[in-house]
Chain length 446, copies 2
C-alpha cells in the first residue's frame, strides 16, 4: 500500500468528527488529522487524507470526536494528595485549621512529585494535555511534568513568608530565576511568575516581578479578587482595590493571568479588556469555597480572554475539565440570567484556546491547525450518555463525561491509548496514594 | 462450605465501605450487606457476615463503596431522545421554537418507550435505581420501566391543552385513573398525579386532582415557581403567587412534590416546612435555563425535605445523579455564601432518602436498612480520580464520576455487573438512537 506519490506522515487520525476550535464553532464530519514531527500537518476530509498521505500509523475512530487537548489554566497539582481531606468548612478554618498545618508538615520534593504524578494520570484520563501550575518547588514540578511528557507552565512562587522552598524575598527571586533559566529552552516546559495574591505580596516584590517578567518575557500568574473580603482588606490597607494597586505597580497588562476575579466592577472589566489581562475562571472552586461569582459572560462580551481552571483538588475536588466546562457553561447562564450566555462552542474555546491565550501559548496549542503541536484528544461519542448525536458541541460540553476520552496525544506522543495510560503504572500510583493517605491521617490538625 | 448453623441468604455483598445514609453521616468500613427475596436482611461487618450467613452468591468488592440506589426525583425521560437538540437559546424560543414543535411531531408510544429505554441504560450505568417520571403516555412509561425492572413513580399528566395522550379534561382524568388502576398493586411501579404547572392547569382541574389524590392516596408531582415570570403572571392573572393559589386549592400538603422552586420568600419556605411539602431541586436545569436559584440551604434549615432531580435530558443534558449531587452541593454554597452549606453527607442524603421521602417511597428505598428493598449501587473508589481516600462521602459527592459505578441491584436483581448492563443490548439501543436522530433531523423547526 505504499505509494511514492503520497506524502509521508507519522500519524493519521481518522475521526467521525473533528472540532478544531478555530475557526470558531466549526464541526468537521469524517475528517482526519495528519501529524509529523509532533506537529499537525493537515486537517482534511478522511477520503482526501487517504489519497494524500502515506501514514506510518493510522488510528481510526469512526465514533470519535477529536478536539484540541484541554488546557487547565489554574492548578495546584501537588495538592491532589489532599483531595477531600477537609471539606464543607468555613474558608479560614479550612485554610488555617487544616490545609496550612498539613502543608507545613508535608511540602517538599516528594509531596510535589507524587502529587503531580497522580494529577497527570487524572488529567490524561480526562483529556487535559496542558496546565498552568502554581505551587512550591517549581524545580521538582518542572522535572515531573517533563518526565511524563506533559505540557505545563510552571509558576515561580513569590510570597512574603518563608516556606520550605525559600526563606527570604531574595531567595524566592534567586531560586525563581534559576528555575526559569534551567527550563527556558524546553519545548514542553515554560515558566511564569506566580505571586500568590495581592494580600500576600508586597509592593516591592510586585515591582520586582514586573521588571523581571518583562526581562524574561514570561507571564504573571496570580490569584486576584478571589473574595469580597480580599478586596475590602486591600482598600483598608492600601486605600485601593487589588486591581487598582496592581495597576499602580505596573502589572495590569497582557502578561497578567488573573485567577478567580469574582469581584469586578464594570469599569474594572473594561480596564482588563483594554489592557489585555486574561481571566481564569474557576467555577467549581469559587462555588465550593463560596468565594463569589465571576461575571464570565460580561468579561467575554467585553473581549477579555477567559480561560478555565479547576484550581487545586483540595478545593474542587477533581481535575476534570469536562466537568469544569459544564459547570462554567451552566453557571454563566445562571449568573447572567441568560440561557444564551457561554454557549457550548464558546465554552470549549475557553477550555482550549482561551487557556492557551491566557498562558501565552496559543502559538503552540489550543486549536487543531497545521503548524501547531499535536496535542489532541479523542472522545467516544457513541455512548449511551451522548446519544442521539444531534449537536456535537452540545454533547461535548453538556453531556460528555471525561471517561469517554479514549486517546490523548501530547506533541504527537501517544499518552492514552484506548483509555489505557501508555507510560504510567496505575497500580504503583495507587499504592503510593495509599501511603500518603496513611501519612496524612497521622498528622494532627485542628 | 455449607453450614447448617448458618442462615441462608440469596446474596452477600462484601464491600470496602458501606454508606447506609441512615444513620446520617455514617460510613462503615469492611461491611457486608445480606439480601434475600429482594430485601436487605442485614448490614454487618464482613467477618461477622461470613460466620452468620451461607450466601447463594457472594460479590466481593474490597475497593467498592456501596450506597443506596440514587433516586432521580424529576425526569422527563422520553425527552432523552431530544438531548442537545436545541441548546443555548432563550427559554421561549427553546420551548416554542424547538421543543414543542418537535414534540408535536414525535410524541407517541414509540417515542416514549424508546426514550425511556435509552434513559434507563444511562441511569443504571450512573447508579440511579428509581425515578419520578413526568410525561405523556404514562401507560407506555409504566410498561417500559416494568419491562426493564426499573423502579419508578409514573406521573399521570394533567394539562389544560389537548395532546396526543388526551383531548379533554375528562379524558385526561379518565386515562389517569385507568393507568393508576392498572398499576396500583405493582411492587415496582407506582403513580402520581402530574399537573404540569400552575400556569397550565385550571383551578377546577387542581381541585379535581386534590380530591382524587386523596382518594387514591398518591402524590402530586408539579413544576412550581420555576421562574420569576411564572410568579409574576400568576399574580396578574389570579392575584396570587402560585404557592398561595395552590394553598387556596387545598394542594399545599405532604402529597405535594414541588419541583424547581427558585422563587421563594422566607414565609413560603416556612409554610412549605409546616405543611410537609417536598422540594425537588434541579440545580443543573435551573442554571442551564437561567431560571433562578433554589434556596436549598434555607429549605434544609427550615426542615423541608429536599430531593434532587436532573430534569429532562433536553434541559440538562444528562441523567447523571453523581453530577447533579456535585452541582447541587457546590451551587448551594455559592448561593448561600456559605462553604458549609449542603455538605457531602447531606447531599448524598438528598439524592437517596430525600428523593424517596419526596416520592412517598421511603418505606421501600432511600437507605440501606434491613427490611428495605435491595436497591444498591457499588462504586469503585480505587481509581486515580478518587484517591487518596481521605473521606468517603467527600469522594462520592465531590470527585466520583458515574463511570465508577460498577454494580447495580434493584429489588435484589442485578442490573449492572462490573459495568456491564445485564439485560440491555447496547448495540440495539445505539442503533435505535441513530434512527431517532435521522428522523428528528428531518423535522423542520424554527
Amino acid at each position: 500500500m505504499t505509494d511514492g506519490a503520497r506524502e509521508h506522515c507519522d500519524l493519521l487520525i481518522e475521526a467521525g468528527h473533528v472540532v478544531p476550535v478555530h475557526p470558531h464553532g466549526v464541526v468537521l464530519a469524517d475528517h482526519a488529522i495528519a501529524v509529523s514531527n509532533g506537529l499537525v500537518v493537515a486537517v482534511l476530509p478522511t477520503a482526501e487524507a487517504r489519497t494524500r498521505f502515506a501514514a506510518a500509523q493510522v488510528v481510526a475512530r469512526p465514533d470519535g470526536c477529536v478536539i484540541p487537548g484541554l488546557v487547565n489554566a489554574h492548578v495546584h497539582n501537588p495538592m491532589t494528595l489532599l483531595r477531600g481531606v477537609a471539606d464543607d468548612l468555613p474558608l479560614m478554618e479550612w485554610l488555617q485549621g487544616h490545609i496550612w498545618p498539613l502543608e507545613a508538615q508535608l511540602i517538599g520534593p516528594a509531596f510535589v512529585a507524587d502529587g503531580i504524578s497522580l494529577a497527570i494520570a487524572e488529567m490524561l484520563r480526562g483529556g487535559t494535555t496542558c496546565c498552568n501550575e502554581n505551587y512550591f518547588f517549581p524545580d521538582v514540578q518542572a522535572a515531573t511534568y517533563k518526565h511524563h511528557g506533559f505540557r505545563a507552565r510552571i509558576g515561580l512562587p513569590i510570597i512574603d513568608f518563608p516556606s520550605a522552598w525559600a526563606r527570604t524575598d531574595d531567595e524566592y527571586f534567586d531560586r525563581a530565576t534559576e528555575v526559569h533559566d534551567q527550563w527556558r529552552r524546553d519545548p514542553l516546559i515554560a515558566t511564569a511568575f506566580a505571586p500568590h495574591a495581592p494580600y500576600t505580596v508586597s509592593d516591592a516584590n510586585f515591582e520586582r516581578i514586573r521588571m523581571l517578567s518583562d526581562q524574561l518575557d514570561i507571564p504573571v500568574h496570580c490569584h486576584v479578587h478571589e473574595t469580597e473580603a480580599e478586596v475590602g482588606e486591600s482598600v483598608q490597607k492600601f486605600g485601593q482595590r487589588p486591581l487598582a494597586r496592581l495597576d499602580r505597580l505596573g502589572l495590569l497588562n497582557d502578561r497578567l493571568i488573573a485567577v478567580h476575579m469574582t469581584q469586578l466592577t464594570d469599569a474594572e472589566i473594561a480596564q482588563c479588556a483594554e489592557r489585555g489581562v486574561s481571566v481564569v475562571h474557576c467555577a467549581e472552586s469559587n462555588l465550593k469555597l463560596a468565594s463569589g461569582f465571576c461575571p464570565v459572560a460580561k468579561l467575554q462580551r467585553a473581549g477579555v480572554t477567559v480561560a478555565l481552571g479547576t484550581d487545586g483538588a483540595a478545593s474542587n475536588n477533581d481535575l476534570d475539565m469536562f466537568g469544569e466546562m459544564r459547570s462554567a457553561a451552566l453557571l454563566a447562564k445562571g449568573v447572567a440570567s441568560d440561557p444564551c450566555a457561554m454557549d457550548a462552542a464558546t465554552t470549549l474555546r475557553a477550555a482550549t484556546l482561551g487557556g492557551a491565550m491566557a498562558m501565552g501559548m496559543d502559538h503552540l496549542v489550543g486549536t487543531i491547525e497545521p503548524g501547531k503541536q499535536a496535542d489532541l484528544v479523542c472522545v467516544d461519542l457513541a455512548q449511551v450518555e451522548t446519544q442521539p448525536l444531534h449537536h456535537v458541541a452540545s454533547q461535548l460540553v453538556y453531556a460528555c463525561g471525561r471517561d469517554q476520552v479514549t486517546d490523548v496525544w501530547i506533541g504527537g506522543h501517544r499518552k492514552l491509548d484506548g483509555r489505557v495510560l501508555v507510560d504510567i503504572h496505575i497500580a504503583g500510583l495507587l499504592a503510593n496514594a495509599r501511603q500518603w493517605r496513611e501519612r496524612i491521617a497521622g498528622i494532627k490538625t485542628r
